[in-house]
Amino acid sequence: MKKPLFSFLSSIKLTIILLIIIAVASIVGTIIPQQYEGGETFRHLSPGLVKVFNSLQLFDMYHSIWFIILMVLLSLNLIVCSLNRLPASWKLFSKIPSPDRKKPFENLQPESVILIEKDRNEVISGVEDFLRRKYKKFRRKDADRITYFYGEKGAYSNFGVYIIHLSILIIITGAIIGSLLGFEAFVNIPEGESTYTVHLTRQKGVKKLDFTVRCDKFAISFYDNGMPKEYRSNLSFLKDNNVILQGPLLVNHPITFNGIRFYQASYGTNPGGRAHITVRRENKQETTITIKQKDSFFLNEKNAKVTIVKIEKNFMSMGPAVLMHIQNPKGTVRLWIFKRIEQMKDRIPDLIKKVPTFNPGRYKPYYFELNRIEPNYYTGLQLSHDPGVAIVAIGSLFVILGLFVTFFSSHKRLWVRLDNQDGKTKISVGARSNKDPVGLKREVEYLLRHFSSIG
């Protein structure tokens, strides 16, 4: 039973079929919107089709059972294929072939052979010293009137491919660890508020953190042309009401706390906000206050309490406005104050007569001005906890190393043979390498140049 399974897993046909299926599936996945990109497109599909897609997990394809099975099969295939070829590579790496092999010297190019005007005994030590210096793996063999040498370098080059395959397996392991033990979540926190519950992205549901996050402030700044320049959330991380860590969170500059990375992902505004109101009293100094909806302040002279009932960013298309109730022992006065009251008065000169509640000076002797409304931002944070990241990073580094070993090194093996020829010496160099034929040719030329200088 073991053998057919092994040969199935070790076939390169399986690799090709798996790669094609994975590629096609990935293409499909880029066309069908995946769940986290929003449910908009689902509505255009018929309910029956949605059902089929759902049962095939096509809306979260890359995390579906069948996609994971494909990945596991590919990994097994990679392991088995590598193991299959490893013994041959190991042999190439560890075994030093005998120097007097015939094959390397068959069909030698004429330029791989030189003739030296000296006796073999005179050149032999020069050649040997040079080869010994150049090649750590070195052998000599003497026969009747012939001396053989063998030298090699770059034997590690045979393992480049295994380094790459192993590191791809490491990356896949890291990814699996991340998806099993890690999580992704998001949370919106209004300015000034804090939370310890976040919404899980993939698993759905809510997760409780063992600490609290507070958004102290959210700010957005723009370039002159209106494009966003910076999103910044000032966050505090609290445990038992003590601030442990505080810092600004920006896009591209996540904050890590308790093994969870926080990312600036989005933002928005809630109704309300803070109004900046200037209160003036005839002939007296003015004060400016910043106040939230439903909060109150006192007018000291008339024993009156002002409550902010509503803060509107754009009230009936007339711009920012605030509704105030001013209470004193005699009763309550309603008052709408507008940021653009002057323009409104220009447009409709008798506005204040017609609508007394729009009169900023209605509650005498006070006069109210709305300077601006500071929107009530919330910051959208993305959270991720991924214990597999370090493993993936290590795997990636080794992929690069493996690529360089595979493509930029070669296992060069050289056989050198010295023959007596009527008092002269014939030197032949036979060479083999697993890649880079040009480099091997250069190596042979280099050796022969050196040998002829001995003579």
């Binding site: 990935s26 966003p228 896009v251 959270l383």
Partner: protein, 277 residues
């Protein structure tokens, strides 16, 4: 119009001239045209480098300084720059000028597309793009793309060479380098492209990890870059394991390049994070 854009639109014409002369060289076999084409391409490269540097300086004058690698226009310009740079290095090493006719047109098309149909203004960087990883991501990706463009050019050359018939082929065919050489060169440029593509994917995922919260999120561009990577991985394996050579390699280098182009342009029509490129 700002000076860098003027220079860069002139470079489009320079590359057009160079491509034409490379084709002259290929058809007539006269070395003169080849040398002229190389010199013109080199002048174009210098002018383009100057244009890119000016654009860089310009962005600092505007107070939004950043490397000119931040939108589709700039990436197209950089793409053609890497193609010409890599090509000239290649030409200098292999000492034949026949490949130019298959490669320089790509540099011209990229420039022409940038000049004619893409907004050329210098835009400030939105927060997500404010990252040094992004710069290394773009540089590695485009060097990879350029090497794979050269491989594709070589693939076409190989297939053209396959049309050669009879005892005494037309001069045109005799001037093309031998098939084994083209095959070896295709392999070498695919290797360079594959390594840069790998580096591009890795630097891109480091950037994603610091900007989006996940090193890999199966966004269409990521997925397509993986598909491209798998195609070239399959190509290299079929060479090493199965000993595929010649026509099959040529066809795969063209298929792989089609996938590169889709990763670069086609993905923009799918929803995802890379919509600004």
């Amino acid at each position: 119009m700002i000076i860098n854009t003027v220079i860069l639109s002139w470079v489009t014409f320079i590359y057009f001239g160079s491509a034409i002369f490379y084709i002259f060289k290929m058809v007539t076999g006269k070395e003169f045209w080849g040398s002229l084409a190389s010199i013109i391409a080199f002048i174009g490269l210098i002018a383009q480098t100057a244009g890119l540097i000016l654009r860089w300086l310009e962005s600092y004058k505007m107070g939004i300084g950043h490397a000119p690698l931040s939108n589709l226009y700039e990436s197209l310009i950089f793409f053609s720059w890497t193609i010409v740079l890599l090509y000239l290095i290649f030409e200098w090493r292999i000492k034949t000028k026949n490949l130019g006719a298959f490669v320089i047109p790509f540099a011209f098309f990229s420039m022409a597309f940038a000049s004619l149909s893409v907004k050329s203004g210098i835009q400030p960087l939105i927060p997500a793009l404010q990252s040094n990883w992004l710069i290394s991501h773009v540089i590695t990706c485009f060097f990879g793309y350029a090497a794979l463009t050269i491989a594709c050019g070589l693939g076409f050359m190989y297939l053209l060479k396959g049309l050669e018939k009879g005892e005494k082929p037309h001069l045109f065919f005799r001037l093309l380098p031998g098939r084994e050489i083209v095959d070896e060169l295709t392999y070498q440029s695919v290797v360079i492209g594959f390594i840069f593509l790998t580096l591009g994917i890795i630097t891109g995922s480091v950037w994603a990890y610091s900007a989006w919260g996940s090193y890999w999120s199966w966004d269409p561009k990521e997925t397509w870059s993986l598909i491209t990577w798998l195609i070239y991985a399959a190509m290299l394996h079929s060479r090493f394991v199965r000993g595929w050579r010649g026509k099959r390699m040529a066809i795969m280098s063209i298929i792989g390049f089609a996938s590169v182009l889709f990763t670069y342009f086609g993905v923009n029509y799918l929803p995802g994070l890379h919509s600004y490129f």
